[in-house]
């Protein structure tokens, strides 16, 4: 049932995957360590931009708006941590599959590039979103992150994954057809 061994992806790809996981771990640790400082910094920036966040000068109303924005700010940091850990692993695993099972060099290179670049930059979109929330608001920051990072790089990773799925499926069909042919 088994044939062959895994081939490792190129070293720079491994570097990107491992560096992303390391960034995620550092990000997770820093989030917990500097939670208060980060919240204070974001709150200060938001208070300096009342019109961006729709602050009206009424304490009860403003505190609720600030709290909601701070929850999203924190969520962005958490989502970066989660996605970077996950995508780092996925980059290493799926590029290993591509390096082993995609025989055509051009297709293999395209898949490895799409998954590595898309997968590595996509999680940074959450960091960007989080960083932009105090300056541009929750929706404004999200729009920038979507168009600059999530759509192009997330899209690239998804295209790469579906190309890889197709390539593995073709390989499986070819292998089954070869096995069903009578021996000469």
């Amino acid at each position: 049932m088994t044939d062959g061994t895994w081939r490792l992806p190129p070293v720079p790809v491994l570097l990107v995957g491992v560096a992303l996981i390391a960034c995620a771990e550092v990000g997770g640790g820093s989030m917990a360590q500097f939670k208060l400082e980060l919240a204070r910094w974001a709150r200060g920036i938001m208070l300096a931009r009342p019109q961006v966040h729709g602050l009206v000068g009424v304490r009860d109303v403003d505190e609720q708006i600030l709290d909601e924005a701070l929850v999203k700010f924190d969520a962005g940091l958490r989502l970066f941590h989660l996605h970077a850990e996950g995508m780092g692993t996925i980059i290493i695993v799926t590029t290993m599959v591509a390096s082993t099972l995609v025989p055509r060099p051009a297709l293999r290179r395209a898949i490895v590039l799409l998954i590595t670049l898309g997968g590595a930059v996509y999680p940074l979109g959450y960091l960007l979103w989080s960083g932009l929330i105090p300056f541009r608001g929750v929706a404004g920051g999200k729009t920038v992150a979507e168009w600059l990072v999530w759509i192009p790089f997330g899209g690239a990773a998804i295209v790469g994954m579906w190309l890889l799925t197709g390539a593995v499926a073709v390989r499986l069909i070819q292998s089954a057809a070869k096995r069903s042919q009578p021996a000469p």
């Binding site: 049932m1 061994t5 996950g86 998804i158």
Partner: protein, 172 residues
């Protein structure tokens, strides 16, 4: 390291691709999903126990929609998380487990177990079609438990085989 059979690799890669796609579609289609889910709850009014009281029915709808959205979100996270684990476990089986029969059983269990995240799609759909409690119970009983058990059995089996291998070759 040896690689596991192509079928296992394909299922794992397919689950990652589906998980990524679901994650990407969740946010831009949130309002469309919400509308669809509310319409399905209304269409299955008896199953959801809608009474005609606007306030109560809205609460029931919201809970069902939340459960359905949670199902899609769980699918995204589990598909992206479990598939690499299955690939890694399959690689360990291919590299370490001797004997065709045991290896074949572990491969089969891992391949079926890799489909576990699809249980959360069933969870989301069944919640809307048959009511929240009945839908969750259906997905747990017929999809999540069997597929999850396959993955757990495969990993426990691998642990046993590895323990035996370690005991029989302590000097390595």
């Amino acid at each position: 390291m040896r690689r596991p059979p192509l079928v296992l690799v394909l299922v794992a890669v397919l689950m990652i691709a589906l998980g990524e796609t679901a994650g990407a579609l969740m946010s831009p289609f949130r309002s469309a999903t919400d509308r669809y889910a509310r319409a399905r709850v209304t269409a299955n009014a008896v199953a959801h126990g809608l009474t005609g009281s606007a306030e109560y029915d809205d609460e029931v709808r919201s809970r069902a929609v939340f459960a359905a959205e949670a199902g899609v979100s769980f699918f995204h996270t589990h598909a992206e998380g479990l598939a690499p684990v299955i690939l890694l476990a399959g690689t360990i089986v291919a590299s370490v487990v001797p004997g065709g029969a045991v290896r074949g059983v572990l491969y089969a269990l891992l391949t079926v177990g890799a489909l576990f995240p699809l249980g959360y799609v069933a969870y989301a759909v069944a919640t809307l079609e048959t009511g929240r409690e009945a839908g969750v119970a259906f997905a747990e009983r017929y999809v999540l438990t069997p597929l999850g058990s396959a993955a757990i059995l495969a990993l426990l089996g691998l642990v046993v085989v590895l323990a035996r291998t370690t005991r029989s070759s302590p000097s390595e």
